[in-house]
C-alpha cells in the first residue's frame, strides 16, 4: 500500500489530510468534529447525536431535500456517526463530483438553522431510535455496565443519551451546542481518492479558509478514579436468553499499553477490525471461544477494545448456552485470564495475531471510504502515524507484554460484571 499523504493545518485551525488513491474514480470526504458524548453532562446527554441529526435538515443554501438528492443523484452515499469522542459526516462520490461534498460540508459547518419545528419532529425520531436499541437485551445490559464502570467520567452514558434528556433538551440547547463545537479549529477534514492534491488543496482553501474561527466552551473532563473492587450489575427483561458482559478498564488508544492489549484481546476473543467497511474474520480458535463455546457454556462470544481519547473499556460479551449459567461463563473467563496472567502466550500465537491484523488491513484498504475514515479516526485520539505504524507496532509486541497486560488490567477489582436475565413470565409488565 502506498502510504504517502498530505497533512497540514489551515490558518483558522482546520486540520486537513489528503490521500491520493487512483484505483477507482471515487473520492470520499469526511468532516470530523472533536465533540461527542464525552463532551456532555447530565441534562444534555445525547445532544451531540441529536445535533448530528439536525445537520441533515439543510441550510438556506442547501435545503434538506436538495442536499440528500444532490448526493444520491450522483450515485454517492452519505451518512454521519456520533461516538463518544467525535461526530463525523461523510460523502463518497464519483471523484469528479466530490466538490459538492466539500461545498456542503463547508456550508453546514456554520449555516444550519435548527428550525424549532424540525427539532420537535426529530425528538420523536431519536426517541424511536432509542426505543429500537432498548428492544435489544445486549443494549440494555451494555448501557448499565458502562454506567457502572464510569461513575465520574462522561463515558458514563450512551451516545444516544438518556430518555429524560431526550424529552427535555430544547432547540436553543442544540443550537448552542452546534455553534460552540462546529468551527474549523475543532474540525478535521480527511479526503481520500482519485484527485490531485495540489488542485484539491486550492479548492479546500477557497472554501474553508474564509470560515470564521471559534473557541470551545471550557470542557472539564473528570478522570475516572481507579476502581477498587468488582462492580456487579443485574438487568432483567423479556426473552428466554441470558447474556453476560464483563468489562475491564482499559488504556486510551495513545497509551503504549494499547497495542499489547490489542494482541491480548485478539488471543482471548479473536481479531477485531478497525474497518467500518470491509470484512472481518471469525474467532473460533480464540481462547475464550474454545473455553466457552466449545465447552457448551455459551453459544456465542465476542469482545474487543475501542480506540478512545480517554481510557475506556475492554469488553467481553457472551450469550449463555441454554443448559449453562452466567456464573459458569464468568468462571471460565476467569480461568482463561488467570492462565494468561501466569504464563506468557507462545510467540507463534502473537505472530498469528499480527498476520490476522495484516489481512484485516488489506480487506479494509480496498475501500476508499475506509481509507478516508482511518485518517480522521486516528487523528481524533492520536494522529495518522498511529494508524500507519499500527502493523509494525503490533509486530513489536512480546509475549511478556501480553502477560503484563493481563496482570495489570484484567483484575477483578478493575472490572464490571453484568448479567441480563429473562424476567419470570409472571413479572412481564403489561
Amino acid at each position: 500500500m502506498d502510504n504517502s499523504f498530505t497533512r497540514l493545518e489551515l490558518p483558522n485551525g482546520l486540520l486537513v489530510l489528503l490521500k491520493e488513491i487512483h484505483t477507482a474514480p471515487i473520492a470520499s470526504l469526511w468532516l470530523w468534529y472533536r465533540v461527542g458524548s464525552r463532551n456532555e453532562g447530565p441534562g444534555t446527554t445525547g445532544i451531540s447525536h441529536w445535533t448530528e441529526h439536525m445537520q441533515f435538515k439543510g441550510t438556506p443554501r442547501f435545503p434538506a431535500e436538495v442536499l440528500d438528492k444532490a448526493v444520491a443523484r450522483e450515485g454517492g452515499y452519505r451518512n454521519a456517526m456520533t461516538f463518544m469522542d467525535w461526530t463525523t459526516y461523510f460523502e463518497t462520490l464519483p471523484a469528479n463530483k466530490i466538490d459538492l461534498a466539500l461545498d456542503l460540508e463547508a456550508d453546514r459547518m456554520h449555516n444550519s438553522e435548527f428550525d424549532p419545528e424540525e427539532v420537535e419532529s426529530e425528538r420523536t425520531v431519536i426517541i424511536s431510535e432509542r426505543q429500537g436499541h432498548e428492544n435489544e437485551p445486549m443494549f440494555l445490559l451494555a448501557e448499565e455496565v458502562q454506567a457502572a464502570a464510569f461513575r465520574v467520567h462522561s463515558y458514563h452514558h450512551e451516545v444516544i443519551g438518556d430518555q429524560a434528556d431526550l424529552e427535555t433538551i430544547h432547540r436553543d440547547d442544540l443550537y448552542q451546542h452546534y455553534r460552540s463545537h462546529y468551527f474549523p479549529g475543532n474540525a478535521i477534514l480527511t479526503l481520500a481518492g482519485d484527485f490531485s492534491t495540489n488542485a484539491m488543496l486550492d479548492r479546500i482553501r477557497e472554501l474553508y479558509e474564509p470560515l470564521p474561527g471559534g473557541s470551545l466552551p471550557k470542557l472539564k473532563i473528570r478522570p475516572e478514579p481507579v476502581q477498587s473492587g468488582e462492580r456487579i450489575i443485574n438487568v432483567e427483561g423479556p426473552g428466554d436468553t441470558t447474556y453476560v458482559e464483563v468489562v475491564y478498564h482499559a488504556p486510551a488508544a495513545s497509551d503504549p499499553d494499547f497495542f499489547p492489549y490489542l494482541v491480548a484481546d485478539s488471543l482471548l476473543t479473536g481479531p477485531s477490525s478497525l474497518n467500518v467497511f470491509g470484512g472481518g474474520i471469525s474467532n473460533k480458535t480464540s481462547l475464550l471461544y474454545q473455553a466457552l463455546v466449545d465447552k457448551e457454556l455459551a453459544v456465542s462470544l465476542h469482545g474487543g477494545l475501542t480506540a478512545t481519547v480517554d481510557p475506556f473499556l475492554h469488553t467481553i460479551m457472551a450469550t449463555v448456552h441454554p443448559e449453562s449459567t452466567a456464573e459458569a461463563v464468568v468462571e471460565a473467563i476467569d480461568k482463561e485470564v488467570s492462565i494468561l496472567q501466569k504464563t506468557p502466550p507462545r510467540q507463534a500465537d502473537v505472530d498469528r495475531a499480527v498476520k490476522q491484523a495484516r489481512a484485516l488491513f488489506a480487506y479494509g484498504s480496498e475501500s476508499i471510504t475506509n481509507q478516508a475514515f482511518w485518517m480522521g479516526y486516528a487523528e481524533i485520539f492520536d494522529n495518522y502515524e498511529w494508524f500507519l505504524s499500527y502493523l509494525d507496532r503490533l509486530a513489536e509486541v512480546t509475549p511478556e507484554q501480553i502477560q503484563g497486560i493481563a496482570q495489570k488490567y484484567m483484575r477483578r477489582s478493575n472490572r464490571v460484571r453484568g448479567v441480563y436475565r429473562p424476567f419470570d413470565r409472571q413479572e412481564i409488565p403489561a
Binding site: A64, K69, R73, P271, S282, H321, P322
Partner: protein, 428 residues
C-alpha cells in the same frame, strides 16, 4: 479540479472482455476477475442445494447442513479447519438459502490455494461429527429464542407467512424450534449426499490472481466431483396474490418499539419489469434518505427512525414491502401514512424529475458498488445466477436510461394491489 476518469473506468466495468469464464467438465462454472490493486482475494459462489428441498417437518435442514460442513471433514477436525483459516486471517462461511446454498470467503492472495482446498473438502467430504451437530443445535435453538423476541425479524417472518401461504417462501430458512429439534445427523448426511453436487454450481474469484491459475486450481480440487443422481431443484408452486387484505400481529411483551411491514408479492429478478420496479422502489422508499417513505414517515411526521421500502425479488417473486420501526402507540398512524404513500405511488406517475434522479443514482452508484473485491464478486455472481449475460453491467446504464415514468406506473399498478395489502406487526 479533479481528474475525470469515468471514461476509462467504464471500459473496466465487468464485461465479457475482462471476466474470465470457464465451465468445468462436470458443470461447475468458474468466473474470475483479476484485480491487482489489493493484495486480497474473494471467493463467492453457490450450489443448487437450498431449502426448496426441505420437508416441512425438517425446516432449517439446508442451513444446518451448510453450517455443519465446516465442522469437520475427512481431512481435518473443526479446530484444524478454523486454525488454518484464522491463522491465515481468512474467513469462510457456507450458508443455506431458499434456492441455493451459498459460500463466501476472503483471504490474502497468498492463501487462495488453502482457502479453495478447505472449501472443496467441506463441500465434498464433510463428516458431520456428532458433538458438533449438537453444538450447532444448541446455538440454533438460542438464535430462535432470540428471533422470537426480535420485533424486526418477527414482523418480516409473519409477513412472509401471510403473503405466501403454502408456498416455500413462507418458510423461515432457519426453521422452527420443533423442526430443528427433529433434525438428526442422518438427515444432514442424507441431505448432503443427495443434493450437493457440481451441476449448477458457480464459483466467482476476484482479486490479485491470474484466471488461468484459478481455473487449474479449481479444476484440480473440484473437477472430478460427480453426483449422477443430483436432482434438479423443484419448480416453485404458483403464488396467487392475496385476495383480501391481511393483517396479523405478533405480541412480544416488554418491548419498547414495534416493527411494521406493509407489502405485496413483487417481481422476480428476471422479470421484464424488474428495472422499472427497482427504480420505482428507489423513489418510493430508498432514494436520498429513504425516498418518499422517509420524507413522510420520518422527516415530516417524526414517527420512526427508519421507514424504507425494499424490492427483494431473486430467483423467484420475492416480496416488495415497506418496513418501519415505530413507537407502539403510533402503529396505526404509521400504517395509515405508509398506505397513503403506496396509494399515491400506485395511481399517480412519479415525476420526470424523480425518475431522472433515480436513474442518475443507479448509474452513478455502479462504480461504487464494484469498488471492493467482494462487491465485484457478488456482482459477477449475479450475472450467472440470473443469466444476465457477461456484458450486463456495460449495458446497464442504457437499460436504466430507457425506463419511462409510464413503465414505472405500470409496474406499480401491477404489483401493488391496494385492496389486498398484507400488514404484519410485531411488538408489545
Amino acid at each position: 479540479m479533479t481528474v475525470d476518469k469515468s471514461n476509462s473506468f467504464s471500459k473496466s466495468l465487468p464485461g465479457a472482455d475482462n471476466i474470465h469464464r470457464r465451465m468445468l467438465a462436470n458443470g461447475i462454472v468458474v468466473l474470475v476477475r483479476s484485480n491487482f490493486n489489493s493484495p486480497s482475494v474473494v471467493v463467492n459462489g453457490y450450489l443448487l442445494a437450498g431449502n426448496l428441498f426441505e420437508q416441512d417437518d425438517r425446516l432449517g435442514l439446508a442451513g444446518y447442513t451448510a453450517d455443519a460442513l465446516l465442522r469437520g471433514t475427512e481431512q481435518r477436525t473443526f479446530h484444524e479447519i478454523y486454525d488454518h483459516l484464522e491463522s491465515a486471517g481468512a474467513n469462510l462461511h457456507i450458508n443455506g438459502g431458499v434456492h441455493t446454498t451459498g459460500f463466501g470467503s476472503q483471504a490474502l492472495a497468498e492463501d487462495l490455494d488453502l482457502l479453495l482446498r478447505l472449501l472443496a473438502e467441506a463441500l465434498r467430504q464433510p463428516t458431520f461429527p456428532e458433538e458438533q451437530v449438537e453444538l450447532l443445535r444448541a446455538r440454533y435453538l438460542t438464535s430462535l429464542a432470540i428471533r422470537a423476541q426480535d420485533t424486526r425479524e418477527m414482523s418480516s417472518l409473519t409477513f412472509d407467512q401471510i403473503v405466501y401461504p403454502g408456498h416455500p417462501y413462507a418458510r423461515p430458512e432457519d426453521g422452527y424450534p420443533e423442526t430443528i429439534r427433529a433434525i438428526t445427523r442422518e438427515d444432514l448426511l442424507k441431505f448432503h449426499r443427495t443434493y450437493y453436487g457440481p451441476r449448477g454450481m458457480v464459483i466467482a474469484v476476484v482479486g490479485a490472481v491470474e484466471a488461468e491459475k484459478v481455473f487449474n486450481t479449481v479444476d484440480g480440487l473440484l473437477g472430478d466431483w460427480q453426483n449422477p443422481d443430483q436432482p434438479v431443484p423443484p419448480n416453485l408452486p404458483p403464488n396467487p396474490a392475496p385476495a383480501e387484505p391481511l393483517t396479523r400481529k405478533v405480541d412480544i411483551p416488554g418491548k419498547f418499539q414495534a416493527d411494521v411491514v406493509v407489502g405485496v408479492i413483487g417481481p422476480e429478478r428476471r422479470a421484464e419489469d424488474f428495472i422499472p420496479a427497482a427504480l420505482g422502489n428507489n423513489i418510493l422508499g430508498v432514494f436520498g434518505m429513504m425516498g418518499r417513505m422517509g420524507e413522510t414517515v420520518r422527516e415530516k411526521a417524526g414517527l420512526a427512525y427508519y421507514a424504507y421500502s425494499q424490492l427483494s425479488g431473486g430467483m423467484g417473486p420475492g416480496p416488495w414491502y415497506v418496513s418501519a420501526g415505530v413507537d407502539p402507540a403510533n402503529v396505526e398512524q404509521a400504517i395509515e401514512l405508509i398506505r397513503d404513500e403506496i396509494e399515491r405511488f400506485s395511481i399517480q406517475a412519479v415525476s420526470a424529475e424523480e425518475l431522472a434522479d433515480s436513474q442518475s443514482n443507479f448509474i452513478g452508484r455502479l462504480p461504487l458498488s464494484l469498488e471492493s473485491n467482494s462487491g465485484m464478486a457478488s456482482a459477477i455472481l449475479n450475472l450467472e445466477r440470473y443469466d444476465l449475460g457477461l456484458d450486463y453491467y456495460q449495458d446497464y446504464p442504457e437499460m436504466v436510461r430507457r425506463v419511462s415514468v409510464e413503465q414505472i406506473l405500470e409496474s406499480a399498478r401491477h404489483y401493488w394491489d391496494l385492496d389486498n395489502l398484507a400488514v404484519a406487526i410485531a411488538g408489545p
